[in-house]
C-alpha cells in the first residue's frame, strides 16, 4: 500500500504542475488563452508571485516595492544582450544575481522596521528607483524611451563564438533556438517548473519553518537563540532574485526595458496576485498571477460587438440593456471586474482561491466517502 505522506502529496502536486505547464496550450484553449504570448505572461508573473510569496507568505513581511527588482532584472538582461550575447542563459543568470544584490542592499536597510513601516519603506525605495531610472540614471536606463537593442551593440561573446550578424535587430536565442512563439513559452514554462520546485523545497525545509516562525512570533524566536534579521533578509533576497529572474524573462520575450516596470502599480499587482490566489500556499500565487493576467488580456479585449453576439438570444430591448451594463465590466472597465472579484474573495475566502479549492475538495470528499455499512459488507465479501 502506498503511504500517503507529505512527500507523496508533494510529488503528485509537482507532477500535476508539470503536466499543466506542458499541456497548457490545450488546457487553456477553450477559454481563449491558449496562445504563447499570454501563456508566457502567466509563467513569468507566476515566477514573480511565487518569489513574492516566499517573503510575504512565509515571513509576513509585506513588500510594496518588488517591482524594483523586476526592473533591475529587465535592465540587466537587456544590457547582457547588448554587451555580451543574445543567448538568454547569461542574461537570466546575471539578472537574477543583480536583483539579488540590489535586494541585499535595500533589504539590509528596510528590514530594520517591520509591519506597516517596512511596507512604506519598500514602497519609497521602489519609487526612488523608478524616478532614478527616469532621470539621473538615463545613461544606463535610456530614460523615457527605455533601453533597447541597437545594430551596433558590442555583443562580445557572440563575436567570439562567431554568431553571424544579421541585417536587422537580432532576436533572443537559446543556443541558436529562437525564443519566440511556442519555444519562448516552453522555455519560460521550464523555468517556472524549476522555480516552483525550489519554492516547494524551501517551504518544506527547516529554513522555511524558521520563516514561518518569524511570522508567528519573533520575540519567541530571539529567546530561542535565533537571530531573526538574517532570516528575514535571506527571504527578502530570495524573493528579490525571483523577481529579477521574472524581469529577465520579460526582456527575453521583448528585449526592451522601461522604467514603468518599476512603478508602484506593478508592485501592487504582485500583492494582488498573491492574495487572490492564496497567501502562503504553494500553488496560490501562480493561480492568482494567471487569473489577473487573464482578466487583463481577455476581458480587456471584449468589446460591444462581442457582447452583442453573446447576448443575441435575448429580445432586442433586453439585449441592449444587458450589454450596456455588462459593457462596464469589460474592455476598458476590466479593472472593475477584477476589483469586484478581489473584494468577493477577500471577504468570503480570506485564504484566496486556494481556500475555495480546498473547500470544494472537502465537500466532494464527504460525498465520495463510502458509508460505514458498505465497507463492512465489502469486508465480509472479501473474507468469504
Amino acid at each position: 500500500m502506498i503511504k500517503f505522506n507529505v512527500k507523496n502529496k508533494d510529488h503528485i502536486l509537482l507532477i500535476g504542475f508539470i503536466i499543466v505547464v506542458a499541456l497548457a496550450p490545450v488546457i487553456f484553449a477553450p477559454i481563449g488563452a491558449g496562445y504563447p504570448d499570454l501563456l508566457q505572461k502567466f509563467a513569468i508573473f507566476g515566477i514573480f508571485a511565487i518569489g513574492f510569496n516566499i517573503l510575504f507568505g512565509l515571513t509576513g513581511y509585506l513588500s510594496f516595492g518588488h517591482a524594483a527588482f523586476l526592473g533591475v532584472g529587465s535592465y540587466t538582461a537587456v544590457w547582457t544582450f547588448k554587451l555580451l550575447t543574445m543567448n538568454v542563459i547569461p542574461a537570466l543568470i546575471l539578472s537574477t544575481l543583480f536583483a539579488g544584490l540590489f535586494a541585499l542592499v535595500i533589504g539590509f536597510i528596510v528590514l530594520r522596521r517591520s509591519g506597516i513601516y517596512f511596507s512604506i519603506l519598500t514602497l519609497a525605495f521602489a519609487q526612488m528607483s523608478y524616478n532614478l531610472a527616469y532621470s539621473v540614471l538615463t545613461p544606463i536606463t535610456n530614460g523615457e524611451t527605455g533601453l533597447q537593442l541597437a545594430l551596433h551593440d558590442a555583443r562580445v561573446l557572440d563575436g567570439v563564438f562567431g554568431v553571424t550578424r544579421g541585417e536587422g535587430l537580432p532576436s533572443t536565442t537559446l543556443f541558436g533556438m529562437a525564443m519566440s512563439g511556442w519555444s519562448g513559452y516552453y522555455f519560460c514554462g521550464v523555468v517556472l517548473i524549476i522555480m516552483f520546485y525550489i519554492s516547494l523545497r524551501i517551504f518544506r525545509s527547516p529554513f522555511g519553518m524558521m520563516l514561518r516562525a518569524v511570522k508567528s512570533n519573533q520575540n519567541r524566536m530571539s529567546y530561542t537563540g535565533l537571530n531573526t534579521r538574517p532570516y528575514t533578509l535571506a527571504a527578502f533576497v530570495i524573493s528579490g532574485m525571483y523577481a529579477g529572474l521574472a524581469g529577465g524573462l520579460m526582456a527575453i520575450t521583448d528585449p526592451l526595458a522601461g522604467a514603468e516596470r518599476m512603478q508602484w502599480t506593478a508592485s501592487g499587482e504582485v500583492v494582488l496576485m498573491t492574495i487572490l490566489g492564496g497567501t502562503g500556499t504553494l500553488l496560490g500565487p501562480v493561480i492568482g498571477a494567471g487569473v489577473i493576467k487573464y482578466f487583463e488580456n481577455i476581458f480587456s479585449s471584449f468589446n460591444e460587438g462581442i457582447l452583442m453576439d453573446a447576448f443575441s438570444f435575448l429580445p432586442e430591448m433586453l439585449q441592449h440593456a444587458v450589454v450596456s451594463i455588462t459593457g462596464l465590466f469589460v474592455g476598458e472597465g476590466w479593472h472593475l471586474t477584477l476589483g469586484a472579484l478581489f473584494m468577493v474573495i477577500v471577504i468570503f475566502l480570506p485564504g484566496g482561491l486556494m481556500e475555495g479549492i480546498a473547500r470544494i475538495g472537502n465537500v466532494t470528499r464527504r460525498w465520495l466517502k463510502p458509508k460505514p455499512v458498505a465497507t463492512t459488507e465489502a469486508d465480509a465479501a472479501a473474507s468469504e
Partner: protein, 251 residues
Amino acid sequence: MSILSVKNVNKQFGGLKALHEVNLEIEAGTVHAIIGPNGAGKSTLLNCFVGRLNPDTGSVNFDGVSLLGMLPHQINQVGVSRVFQTPEIFGDLTLAENVMIPAFARRDGAFRINAWRQVEDEQSIRENAMHLLEDVGLADSADNVANQLSRGDKRRLELAMCLVQQPKLLLLDEPTAGMARADTNNTIDLLKKIAERGITMVIIEHDMHVVFSLAQKISVLAQGTVIAEGLPNEIKGHPKVQEAYLGGAHL
C-alpha cells in the same frame, strides 16, 4: 558552585530606582525562587539576565561569561532559556514544529540557511521533539496547531521548547500566573520532575504555594534590593520579609 552570579547591579528608569545594589548567587542544580511584592523589581532583574535590559552598573556572569551587552539570542545560545509570564509560543505552527524550532536552534546556531534539506529528513530532531512532547504530556496533539491549546497546555509546550535545548539555566517568570488551580498543580508536578533532572531553575513567583513546593532557596526582593535570602523555612519566619512582603501577617 554558582552558575549565575549577580554583583552590585543597579538599574534606574528616570527617577525610579528599579534595582539597587542587587547581589545574587544561583547555585548550579538548585531551584531558586525570587519573591517580592509588586513593583519590587523582580521582572526587571530577570530581564537583566536575558538581554532585554542592560544594568546601569554591576555585573551579571553566567558560567564564567559576562552577559552584559549580549543580545537575547546570544544569551540563549550560551545555555539560558526562559519562559514568559504569558506563554510565548509559535501559535500558527503545530506543536511538533514548535519544539523542533528550538532543537534546530541548538543544533544549527543562531542562523543557518538549511533550505534544501526537508524537515521530514531530519528524523533525529523530530524524534527528540516528540520525546519532549511526551514528557510534558502533549504527544497526542503533536500535529495540532498550538493556538488551540489551553493556557496550561501552552505553558507545558513552552517548557518542552526550553527543555529540548537542554539549558544550563531555566528562567521562569510567574509560571503559573493566570492558571486554574488544577493547571497550577500540574505545572508544579512538571517543574518538580524537571528539577529532578538537575536543571538549575530561577523562578519568579507570587503564589506562595508554588514557591514553597519547589524552591530550595529563596531571595526576597523589596524596593529593588534583596532584603533576605535563605532556605524556605528561614524565609517563612523572617521578620523583615513578613514586614515588607506579607504586610506583617503570619503565613
